[in-house]
Symmetry: C2
Subunit: 271 residues, 2 copies
């Protein structure tokens, strides 16, 4: 998907919402497990049908599918096929390897799976990232400042002679590897105060923002400091939306939680 | 596998060799593709049979399997099942995510797939790594100093106030998350001069060393600076061993290349 189309979709749906399909068979409503041969796929289908009115993106964390082996990988592929064409699909895979190998990951997620974007870890540097950038109208979303407690271990380290934290250096160096039409960055909603500095370094890039909901991120702070003219933010919620109910109304609850989150965002956004 | 058993296997086989099963259907002998229903699995089977006399470990880079979709994931699982019990199995997956998600990756590689070890990226810090450490007799192998050109982008950054490079800080901080019975580190053979400093920080940990062969690493330098009493090194070769011939003798060639590499190592090792 091109940036122009993503921005148009945001304007049309009046939403920055990315719904995380982190589907764990142990957490979905029990009746699905009893009544359906493939309960995970049924769950995803019903969530997508109920929330695609509000979602401009879906993010599938590959871990939840890999944990179920071959059948899980099959569900990952099948779920992506069920997502409407006008919704941006993120394979949240956090991959990266030497160039020769990253090329295979790019093939997996962009060809075999046809996702619009894949999340990528920065530690291995330029040649681990560049093979993903060779695909037209595909995106990488590089980890910059993550939402978790472990983000404090290395990402805030002060880099000598650059007067920067490590995550700022990652943003600054890596933003030259691609541009704002094929690169986004992951920045957690748990660090709202850092969005100002981040916008000094990458004023025009989209940021994928996890950490709202279960992780306790600050939506208002993120929007106040992170929004740009072309929006530039995708706000993710996973557990907070999809696990709202363990009963037959789960999809309806997911829709109403999506609507609530979009309404909450829209207090701070002009379309 | 316990460390004690790994060390015993090394002593018995007189080898530090890890063979990388980075099997790309476009690079295996053409006759396999013509004659077998599942040429990748046949290739792996023949390579394993021919090289397990020399290999103390096999490393399967997940990218090569994921690129083939569901069938690839099936081959990854089936290949691991074919590896003899006394050979250490590394899922070279370079995963890591927030704690809740890393737990699912641990389930994928340690339960569903029954690998002995999984490679993990450090950027997301402690809670992205610790779920893997909760499994008994399983290992994580954390990226410290990788073998590729992109290792120069961030891993050598000087960390203010610590008088360390980033990769040294990663070693120093993360080594307290586990111990030398459940953690190893990836250190590329393309940086032989750094093994001395690394041994000051992690004197007793095993290091997984890629970068020999196609990437041009320095075997002698690695062994001179990295060996410890209990060996502490697994030396990986992938393309250099498995793609030695495109003809029917490919497995024989892989065996002889394995033997040559082991003989080369053993100039510098006392068992």
């Amino acid at each position: 998907m091109k940036r122009l189309q993503l921005v148009e979709n945001i304007r049309r749906k009046k939403s920055l919402l990315c719904v995380g399909l982190d589907t764990d068979i142990n957490k979905i409503p029990k009746y699905l497990v009893e009544e359906f041969e493939n309960p995970v796929l049924e769950f995803n289908k019903m969530i997508i049908e109920a929330t695609s009115e509000y979602a401009v993106a879906y993010k599938l964390n590959t871990a939840f599918y890999e944990a179920e082996g071959v059948g899980g990988w099959q569900n990952l592929e099948s779920t992506i096929k069920m997502i409407p064409d006008d919704v941006f699909v993120i394979a949240d895979a956090k991959r990266a390897d030497i160039g020769n190998t990253s090329k295979m990951y790019a093939r997996a997620f962009f060809e075999s799976m046809n996702a619009d974007a894949v999340t990528v870890a920065p530690y291995m540097g330029v040649d681990s990232v560049s093979p993903f950038l060779e695909y037209k109208n595909k995106w990488i979303i590089l980890l910059a400042l993550t939402s978790n407690k472990g983000s404090l271990d290395f990402q805030y380290l002060d880099i000598e002679s650059k007067d920067m934290k490590l995550y700022e250096n990652v943003l600054s160096v890596s933003s030259s590897w691609g541009d704002s039409n094929n690169m986004m960055f992951v920045v957690g909603a748990t660090h709202p105060e850092d969005f100002k500095k981040i916008r000094d370094i990458v004023p025009n890039h989209f940021l994928l923002v996890p950490g709202i909901g279960a992780q306790g991120g600050d939506l208002e702070g993120v929007l106040r400091n992170g929004l740009i003219d072309e929006f530039g933010l995708l706000i993710n919620s996973s557990r907070g939306i999809i696990y709202g109910s363990g009963a037959r109304d789960f999809a309806k609850i997911a829709a109403s939680r999506s609507k609530d989150l979009v309404d909450e965002m829209n207090k701070y956004i002009k379309y």
